[in-house]
Symmetry: C2
Subunit: 191 residues, 2 copies
C-alpha cells in the first residue's frame, strides 16, 4: 500500500483537512495517484493512529469545524524509507483505450463520441495545470524556478501532469479525426 505515502507527500505542502486533501487529490495529485475521499478519511485516521501525522482541530464560525493534519518526524522518516525502496512500475487503467483497442470489432461512433468528451476534459485539465505552475513559480520564469525555486517537487510532478494531458489531448483529437475519416471512407465505398 502506497496510498499512505501519497497522502504524506501531499501533506508536506501544508496543513490540510480530509476534505481539502480530497480536492487536492482531485486536481494536482491525480496525475500520479488516484483516491476517492473515503479512502483519504480512512487513511488519515490510520496515519494519525500510527503517529505519522498529527491532527489539530480548527474551529470555524462560518463553516463546520474541521481537523487538519501535518506530517510528524516519524512520518518524514517513513517517506525517506519509502524513497529508498525500488519504485514499482506505475499502474494505469484507461477504459477509453480499451474501447479504442476494440474499435475494429464494434461501432466506431460511440468510441469517437467518448474521445471527444475526454478531449474537452483534457483541455480543461491543461488549463488548471498551467495556472498551478504559474502560481507556484510566481514571477520567476520556469528555468530560474527549476534551478533555484522551492518547493521544486510539486512543480516537477505538475510539469509531468501537464505534458501527459497535452499528449492525451493530441491523441484523443487525432484518433477521433482518424476514426471519423475511416468511417467516411467506408460509407463511400459501401454506398
Amino acid at each position: 500500500m502506497a496510498l499512505r505515502h501519497a497522502v504524506l507527500a501531499a501533506l508536506l505542502d501544508g496543513e490540510y483537512s480530509g476534505y481539502q486533501l480530497a480536492k487536492i487529490f482531485d486536481v494536482s495529485v491525480s496525475n500520479f495517484w488516484h483516491a476517492v475521499p473515503q479512502q483519504l478519511y480512512a487513511e488519515l485516521a490510520r496515519l494519525e493512529a500510527e503517529g505519522l501525522i498529527s491532527g489539530r482541530r480548527v474551529i470555524q464560525k462560518d463553516r463546520p469545524n474541521k481537523r487538519v493534519y501535518t506530517v510528524t518526524p516519524a512520518g518524514l522518516r517513513e517517506l525517506e524509507r519509502f524513497a529508498a525502496t525500488a519504485a514499482k512500475p506505475g499502474i494505469i487503467r484507461e477504459n477509453l483505450l480499451v474501447m479504442v483497442q476494440a474499435v475494429d470489432h464494434i461501432s466506431a461512433e460511440p468510441v469517437i463520441a467518448r474521445l471527444e468528451e475526454r478531449a474537452e476534459i483534457s483541455a480543461a485539465k491543461i488549463e488548471i495545470f498551467r495556472r498551478t505552475l504559474q502560481r507556484l513559480r510566481g514571477d520567476m520564469d520556469e528555468e530560474t524556478y527549476l534551478r533555484h525555486g522551492s518547493p521544486v517537487g510539486p512543480y516537477l510532478t505538475c510539469l509531468r501532469g501537464l505534458r501527459f494531458e497535452q499528449e492525451n489531448l493530441e491523441w484523443f483529437q487525432s484518433t477521433a479525426r482518424l476514426l471519423r475519416e475511416r468511417a467516411a471512407a467506408r460509407t463511400e465505398e459501401g454506398g
Copy 2:
C-alpha cells in the same frame, strides 16, 4: 469492474490461453490496463461461465496442453454496450512521482537513483513498442496504415503507449539531471 472488457478487447486479436494473455498484458495492453496473471485466469473462468468467451482445449506434444479462448457474439455485444457508456477518467498510480513530490523534504540521492532505474526500463519499453508497431504495419508506412490498415485499434493504442513512454523517459532524465544540479549547487554553497 472493467478488467473483463480489457480481456475481451485483447481476445479480439485472436485465440489466446491465460498464459499467453498474461504476456500480452505485460507488454502491449499494459499501456492502458494493468493485471497480474492470477487475475486473468480468474477472469477467463468467469467470462466463460457467463458465455462471453468460449474455451477450447489445445493438445500440444512439445509443451503442456492449454486452453485457448475466443470472444462469443454475447461477448461482442457486452463490449458494444461498454463502449456506449461514458468512459470514467483513467486512474494512475506512480510511486516514483510520489517520491519526486516529496523531494524537497527528503534526501534527493535515492530519488535520483530511482529515476535513473526507471529511465532504463522506459528505454527498453520504447524499443518494444517500436517493434510492435513495425510488425503491425508490415511494409506499409504509418500514414497509409492508419488510413487503410487493419486492425487499427491495437495500432492506435500502441502509438499512445509509445508516446507515453517517450515522455516518461524524457521527464525521468531531465528530472534526474535537474535534481543532481540542484544538489551540486547546494554542496558548493554549504561547503
